[in-house]
Symmetry: D3
């Protein structure tokens, strides 16, 4: 398994085809929890759909387009984090994430987002990272606010979310735009934390 090791409990995993069934089961168990924010739920109804996503994501990673990594906590898949809308010329990208319902409250997302930000600034050379959250999704907004992001404004009717009922069409929602620039990151206390990859048993 190819992983970015955060600590003994938590890793970011590059999903491969043989993970499809196991990862789909996590998604399937969290449908109600992920609704209505995760528009891709509509097209994810079987392990084959997850297999197709995994293959597509590997091709994206290979081409330095989007990069999604699974969250693995105590040897179980519990969510996902990804870099989207990469603009290589302006060195910016957008971070998205989700966590299984029964894993909330353990600081998993905060730890994962921090580690992912280390990667994006230090290894991949990005200069501007954004996180976009629905205005009333307080749990999600807490992440960028806690990590020192700046709120830039609210983009109106910019993203799709699932309809309230199974047959309802997707709806457009506003998103609050948060950003963190490279020089801001380097002034944040948590940016100095060494990359703990591997030498975790010390």
């Amino acid at each position: 398994m190819l992983t970015h090791v955060i600590d003994e409990e938590l890793q970011l995993v590059l999903l491969e085809p043989h993970h499809a069934a196991e990862f789909f089961a996590v998604i399937d168990a969290n449908r109600a929890h992920l609704h209505p924010w995760m528009i891709w739920l509509e097209g994810t109804n079987s392990p084959e759909d997850t297999l197709a996503f995994i293959r597509s994501n590997l091709a994206d990673v290979a081409a330095e387009r989007d990069m999604a990594l699974a969250l693995r906590y105590r040897d179980q898949f519990v969510g996902m984090i990804g870099a989207h809308d990469k603009k290589h010329k302006t060195k910016s990208c957008d971070i998205g994430y989700w966590l299984a319902h029964d894993m909330q409250g353990r600081g998993i997302v905060t730890r994962a987002v921090k580690a992912f930000i280390h990667l994006l600034f230090n290894d991949y050379g990005f200069q501007r990272l954004t996180i976009r959250c629905a205005p009333h999704n307080k749990r999600s907004r807490a992440i960028p606010e806690r990590l020192g992001f700046t709120q830039e404004g609210t983009l109106r009717r910019i993203a799709l979310m699932l309809g309230d009922t199974p047959n309802a069409p997707p709806q457009l929602t506003d998103l609050v735009m948060y950003s963190l620039l490279d020089y801001e990151y380097h002034r944040l206390p948590w940016s100095q934390q060494p990359d703990t990859t591997i030498n975790i048993g010390d």
Copy 2:
């Protein structure tokens, strides 16, 4: 020549390969004026470069990606307007434009942007249009403000502009984000103006 007719003086033209030399001459005569906002100036140094752009734009138009149209005023090319970053799922896109220096002050851009907005909402079915301007580019910001757009915030270090001197590297600049939604547009007085295409001599 394939045109969207705004009025007897002003048209939007779909550039074709045989326009390359004529259109390049307009760009070349406006280098100082377009600097530093037009990052593509760096790669536009001959009619062949403009020819390559024209072919690329035609392929984009055919595939319903970006669409750039030349501004033609009194039988001369004087600038350009385009729809970029089209998101077909959320029905949004971003409008950009430039005008030759000696054509300023005649209301050309305002007329062209209005006509283009009519097309984007009425013919192409977009629901959210944006215009992004550098904070201190007052002439450019006047357009969305005059047309009833809403200022949503300032995206920091989001776009490239050319360096101050010929050999200086491009620099990142902030952009103020303005948007206009379809239902807002329909309430604006100028949206009711009939599409004057063709029956212009009446």
Copy 3:
């Protein structure tokens, strides 16, 4: 709408996806009239088929292959004109056209073919244009004969036309070949007519 303006009444339109339903309706109302000459009728049975044609034509135009333009007369689609079999090395192509049944007798095709020939010789640089007609299609043959084309011969069993009954297979037909060369065109009185694009209200 992107048009080549012939005069206040008549324009050539580059069809875009949002025109599919309106243009299909014209085709569908003219099935009996277009039969048996228009072999593509067989594959045009819904607005989706016309949409596919429109997308294919846009890709062809972008790549400087075939170019079909709709005839628009008094704000209605009434037919089509196109350049086919473009040979860029020998600078030759073949012109085809059709007109709705109830629009015949107004000189629409003659005006459209003249304007299209202006474009092909003057803007696109072709040197040889051909029109090919079934031997007994007198109405169609009258066009190249009236415009000064030269009859070169009859190509035998060179094109498909639809069978007489719905289930009959397509049949091969002869075509009379007419051509007009660039230096012949420039000696024709009607070639001197200025391109009226846009300044039509004067």
Copy 4:
């Protein structure tokens, strides 16, 4: 070597990459003879150019597009014959050929064209074959006339031939169009000649 055997002396050969040097030598020795009819001479200046042609022709044959076969006479390459402009819908194609200068006068081309016509009608199912010759190329015109083709007319300025001097640009030439239809072929005495492939030693 993959061949269509006409008789003990003469075969049609599907060129493969290892034939490039040998076949280029024949072309190179016939430059003056093939000028000005063979426009591709301009781009054939080394065995590598012939190798590229061979690979391109193999890909065309595999895709049922053009098919060129070398003439091999008494174990030497002496020319080429090909089917071009295949139209699978109307089952028509055009035949072209050339012969080395010092092989003229032995009936090689007539034998090769007959055998190729057998293949095109009987094995590949074409229904209309054409041969196009420059008006004043009497030697070339004698072939279709002798084989029972019908002269349909003269297409004006339809093909390129090389300029008279090395630096002169290519020029457009007229071509006389000859055709032979399947039912005409079957009435010709020479069409009844059995396909002699292989059992040639009897």
Copy 5:
């Protein structure tokens, strides 16, 4: 028909689309005989399947990948021979073949393999040829042993063969690896036999 002529009775034929029905009939008549060695039998159930194979093989030949040629004996298709796993860098490939049941005992395969080896070493420049046979397929193993190949070893569970019953899954089988190197070939008496292509009536 494009053939490599071995002698008056036997040729190697490059299959083309119009051979699909005739060649499929031979396969279909030999299903029991070819089972279980020919894993591709599973996917060959109609002339259309053979047509798809023929097109795929032509594309492979054109790209200098695999090359399969049909065995034609006394004007009938009776089997196939092919070069697979071509490694152009190391100039090696693997030879496979099959023969119709009622054609066994006439030396057809031996003659065909010899002729094919001549082609592969002399025309295509390979330096190492292999033949791989199932350990208990004595008839197949007799070919490389008779032709002077060296047995290198047995590769275990390296190839698929069909299951014993129609619904049984394919099974893995061992293969004995035989090879013949170019310098070994040139010392074999039968390598000096002249290539008889064409001049077979002498």
Copy 6:
């Protein structure tokens, strides 16, 4: 960094573009040591070459073709291991590896090959793994022999190795073929060793 963790000291790393310079330096420092076995040394003369390899390998991994992973020992790159010639139908592939000169004698390759074999049998579902070594490369042959592979035979002149001097052409070498089948693996004592990925600090 995406890694398969073997233990605290040793990991297998999926190289990404930002590793190019660091990894090239290891190759460059081991040229004499890797010569003549590593034929790709010829084409690896700058960090850009390594960058191209990294991108190509990522595309291969994404498409489930070849998969190469770097060996990382005590936070330094020290070699590479890879799965090549994957045959998904027969579930077999070939393992290759190299180690930096000054890292020999610490059991790194044995540990890495074991871990890689665990992955290939348990995660990827292969059923036959091979290791091929030059006959006189005793150090390399010791690996499969120590791990319980079976020697199947010697494939003659099957692989390229670099010439003895800088300008000498590559030469063909024999390779001894070793294989390990899935059921053999499961009977080996070392196959029972738990996959230590991640929970390495315990």
